[in-house]
Symmetry: C2
Subunit: 351 residues, 2 copies
Amino acid sequence: MSLSDRKRRILKAVIDEYIENAEPVGSRVIASRSRLDVSPATIRNEMSELEELGYLEQPHVSAGRIPSTAGYRLYVNELMQDYALSDHEAEAINAALRTQMRELERTVREFGSFVSRLTNYTTYTLMPSPSSERVMKFDVLIIDERYAIVVIVTSSGLLKNKRIRLATSATEEEIRQVVRILNTHFTNRTLDEISLSLIKRASAEAGNLAYLVTAVADFAGEVLDDSGDGDIYLDGISRMLNHPEYRDPEKARELLNYLSDKREILRHTKEHFSDDNVAGQIRFSIGTENSDEPLKDAGIVYGTYDLGKNLQGVIGIVGPTRMDYAKVAANLNYFINGFNKLIRDSFFTDI
Amino acid sequence: MSLSDRKRRILKAVIDEYIENAEPVGSRVIASRSRLDVSPATIRNEMSELEELGYLEQPHVSAGRIPSTAGYRLYVNELMQDYALSDHEAEAINAALRTQMRELERTVREFGSFVSRLTNYTTYTLMPSPSSERVMKFDVLIIDERYAIVVIVTSSGLLKNKRIRLATSATEEEIRQVVRILNTHFTNRTLDEISLSLIKRASAEAGNLAYLVTAVADFAGEVLDDSGDGDIYLDGISRMLNHPEYRDPEKARELLNYLSDKREILRHTKEHFSDDNVAGQIRFSIGTENSDEPLKDAGIVYGTYDLGKNLQGVIGIVGPTRMDYAKVAANLNYFINGFNKLIRDSFFTDI
DNA sequence: TTTTAGCACTCTCGGCTTCCGAGTGCTAAT
DNA sequence: ATTAGCACTCGGAAGCCGAGAGTGCTAAAA
């Protein structure tokens, strides 16, 4: 049976109120603030029923009610109103987008930073995990007679480089030859497709510079492999402390330590996305829905952004369970749409 | 007049004790723990004199003494013993060094991360500010008929890249020509030396690809200029909360907010290094010596590392005023020596 | 003259009690 | 079905007290 309209309105009022003030909300406040013309007593009855249904909780008998995880869940799924971005917020996001992917990573990170500042929550950005990543292009720059820099451009547009020591000094022409060999043999292949025999064949062509081909191939393997982890950037960790729920230093420390450990976040995020319910772009994970202890009274809003075929990155925004889901979701959504569009009509779409 | 030997020993004992336990230390503890065979009463007399001299302070009349900023200053300048790195610590640092500058930045950051874990303080690493930075090498990689990536290698070994939209599709040969022009005109010059007339002259040579030369030159300017800010990486912010002085969430929040603002750190560090007393590599800045309010009861240990001629980066380690200066200094020193050596005999020394 | 023992004094901290107010649930009236 | 009224509960703030730690001072001892 679904909730009566009045119950829904009351529940929403409680949650909105609680999100704003972080304090248990009582029947009187709801009665006066929401404009259902009923007395506190009626609200009380309704609330006690909402409690029985599991949407509200009471910290102790004579405090107001606070939403339960189920309450929040209902809220994000059905109750909450679209939050209208303020001009200021939209402008900030546009600014992040306007940096125009001078470096892709930076754009995403910058957005994370903006949202963190705008919403006062901690954000993390997770670069796409490119297991299906390919090398698009090789190049070798000679620095001096002893060193060269290898440059690799991947299909997601990342650019990686490594310094390599030259065993024998090589001429421009020789290097160009090596680059040609690399580009013909190794581009457009995933890690799995770069076999040992392929490397052998390629380096055979390179004569006395074979070692260079091998070195570069190794490096390519490294890049394709380890960037599989995807870098994680955190922003606004300290903002966590602005919220009253983290007055208790123990609580704060526990959560911050957890968030600082990138492996934890990575694991958590992957876990969350392993469920195949790939509904919309924005997802929520609330309070006790999180299996990790330190997140049990936190909320996370996730958004995914595309970076080409099969490449998705994740942005997560972490706050107390009581965080302003509507606002965060609106911001995230706005950015992601802009970003995806940007990518779609300007990047390597044909890959 | 300089302090009597006994006073010095007592002061040192007080500071060592306080560094370890974070609690005001009383006469009895000193009497029993340090092996000056005197009674607590004598210690009391000495301590009250040390207080008059400004080296110790009393939080309230019936607590023990804690060191003042002046006390710490004397401690780091004269009193503290060399801390001997444990095998574990040395090994961790070696590991950071062994990552072999796959990317320079990463090595430094990794060290920051290690030290943070080892010492439980927050660290920040500041990349060199390369106002005297030059471009070593240009390259342009064609991605497809619409896009190319410009790669710039700077004299400090940083590699920057930018995607550029091609107005007209260009042949390999044309691009090679552009690269040649770029390399002859713009390499080995600092930002100041890249004049407008130089750009004009260079682009004239490029015919219908002049726009490309201009775009790349602009980008080069951007890189040389804005990397002047130097990136900052923080590590172990949350570890701050492990120290009892930050039990008070207000205090913690203030400091963490300050630390999260990279501009603040940058400004502070620059300020600190503007004094021309370039004594050793390791420097301290203690408590009220810091002009910034949030740092007034924190301590910072700075170390500088070289990255070639005229290029210095800074590593800072931030903790409570009571931090273990000896240990931190030892770690920092060990790393910096190793790192500098690594750079000296393997990098672009001849620049 | 320096060191030490003794003692009164001060101040913080933890625990305890008390009190107040907010908010509830129940009952009876509308 | 709603509301007014009322007794009840509980957490938090304020106040109080005693214990403990550490001091400074004085007077005796070395």
